[in-house]
Symmetry: C2
Subunit: 357 residues, 2 copies
Amino acid sequence: MSKTVLILPGDGIGPEIVAEAKKVLDAVNHQENLGIEYSHGKLGGASIDEYGVPLSDETLALARESDAILLGAVGGPKWDELDSAIRPEKGLLKIRSELELFANLRPAILYPQLADASTLKPEVVSGLDILIVRELTGGIYFGQPRGIRTLENGERQGYNTYVYAEHEIERIGRNAFEMARKRNKKVCSVDKANVLEATVLWREVMDRLSAEYPDVELSHMYVDNAAMQLVRAPKQFDVLVTGNMFGDILSDAAAMLTGSIGMLPSASLDKNGCGMYEPCHGSAPDIAGQGIANPLATILSVAMMLRYSLDMPAAAEQIETAVSKVLDQGLRTPDIYTDGMKKVSTSEMGDAVVAAL
Amino acid sequence: MSKTVLILPGDGIGPEIVAEAKKVLDAVNHQENLGIEYSHGKLGGASIDEYGVPLSDETLALARESDAILLGAVGGPKWDELDSAIRPEKGLLKIRSELELFANLRPAILYPQLADASTLKPEVVSGLDILIVRELTGGIYFGQPRGIRTLENGERQGYNTYVYAEHEIERIGRNAFEMARKRNKKVCSVDKANVLEATVLWREVMDRLSAEYPDVELSHMYVDNAAMQLVRAPKQFDVLVTGNMFGDILSDAAAMLTGSIGMLPSASLDKNGCGMYEPCHGSAPDIAGQGIANPLATILSVAMMLRYSLDMPAAAEQIETAVSKVLDQGLRTPDIYTDGMKKVSTSEMGDAVVAAL
Ligand SMILES: CC(C)[C@H](C(=O)O)[C@@H](O)C(=O)O
Ligand SMILES: CC(C)[C@H](C(=O)O)[C@@H](O)C(=O)O
């Protein structure tokens, strides 16, 4: 019953942080005899350099055969001038879409050890624990028609299509309700139903689903108000569920509330629980290769992977406890460093987590 | 050379706050002999109650004849169950569109007297002064086709169209560059050009325009990053320019950074500078009729009106100075009240501003 994890280091700091996360996964794998095996592939700029495309058929085939994928991050200035069809991000969008990884889970958790890092006042964010459930394979990200056309008067016009069918809304909605059941039993669905018909249907489907989850409280909020409420009183939220684009925006705002985006993991799941795991932060090309990137978001992504895709919750908890322990020990990469703490490098942080296991 | 201002009190707290703002406008009008005359109309729920539609032809005709419009706010639970075509918001969207009020200016300013109200740490927001320039008559708010259709398999699908033509991007871009010239000469254009073609064109047009404004620094930012940066380091921004929907979300987040949305005015201008002026906050039906709403955002909207549509900058400044004075005097409506200040009602606040003129 061995499980295969595909490793996609990606670009920028990706290889460095994935190396540390793999170190940690190796350690629990050995210690607990989990029987995890690895395959290796390329995504984003690294794939463009080798295959000329941001996601090759080879890597996609490996992805389909694996039980879970660990991704670093993609993109960087090196590939910015390329035609948009082969930019690194397109590889990310394609793998999400091809594997139908429709459920993107983005926790925004404030670690008590890092409470000072937030730009918000302590009383507003202390104990913050929100889960953003973002639809990831539909909406305006993938809607057709799309493009730039020339009108009869010679002027150009850019257009995209925001589209959701009932089954797409239903499956992400169920995911949010199920997640809320394991948490504080509150789902807030975010839309713009006062303007966008696509989200009128969204709201209707959420209301319908709600009848099947009487133990979970459903509320609705317009996206502009949600952006405001995240700043005003973020602790009012438990699970936030929304479409692809609103989720992109709100999850980044929510992550930043913690002040330590270097700590936040994410999961992108298909209907069977297979998934791709990656830190919330980007590839940070400006600090790549310097050994100063924070590997903890990627290490915590491994914990999410063990929990959601590999059905090994005990191992997940071991890693989470170890991360908490190294924070208690005062170890900090530069991004989360504050006076009186001990500054460590990317690999020292990885080693410390392994030691704490 | 008299000027006509159309008064649209709207719903909820609208009539109360507009009454105070008109009081203030009357006072400067008299004092400075400005020759301002009034007309009166209805918008939103108030219009639905009287005419059965959220914007009547009568009111629209009055709007076209006026030099500026002062609006309270629209909407409330009373009209929530109506068919979406005649909801209060539709009146707002229609008047924006019919009058081609494409340039929505939303300042997010932190008043030093109210610094404590922010949920952000003082060092992050003190002195905050951002101007969000939001495109208001295009994008996904108005794009066709749109609606909810039934697919061949019987499933329903909701869809909207995000669309921008070059001339729409150009005119809002010019507006942003012109505004920046009078401020700190920095424009940050927000898009999602790594995913949405409509915003690839947006970015291209902004770059092209930039050549005509060599004295203004143009930068680009993805919308998810912009949402993060507003939380992380909002003072990095001077003017932010973006499309209708991103502007809706980001301007509300930016407003909430100040912690006192009851203080923030807005302007919606056409190409000749005619415009509609309204507070950033909503109609707050829960506190309507109690005399506790904060009229200062509407009063400051009158100042914006004098500056941008009526070409009376001295009178605008008089009002802004008077507002600052009443804050210095410690007068506070309940929404901005803190210990040691003097709590006043809606009309007492209006009277105090008049007295301070
Ligand atoms: C890189 C980009 C295409 C991507 C997205 O918008 O989904 C990123 O911002 C994310 O949230 O994972
Ligand atoms: C009421 C609503 C239609 C409106 C909008 O989305 O534009 C409001 O949120 C605003 O920002 O003025």
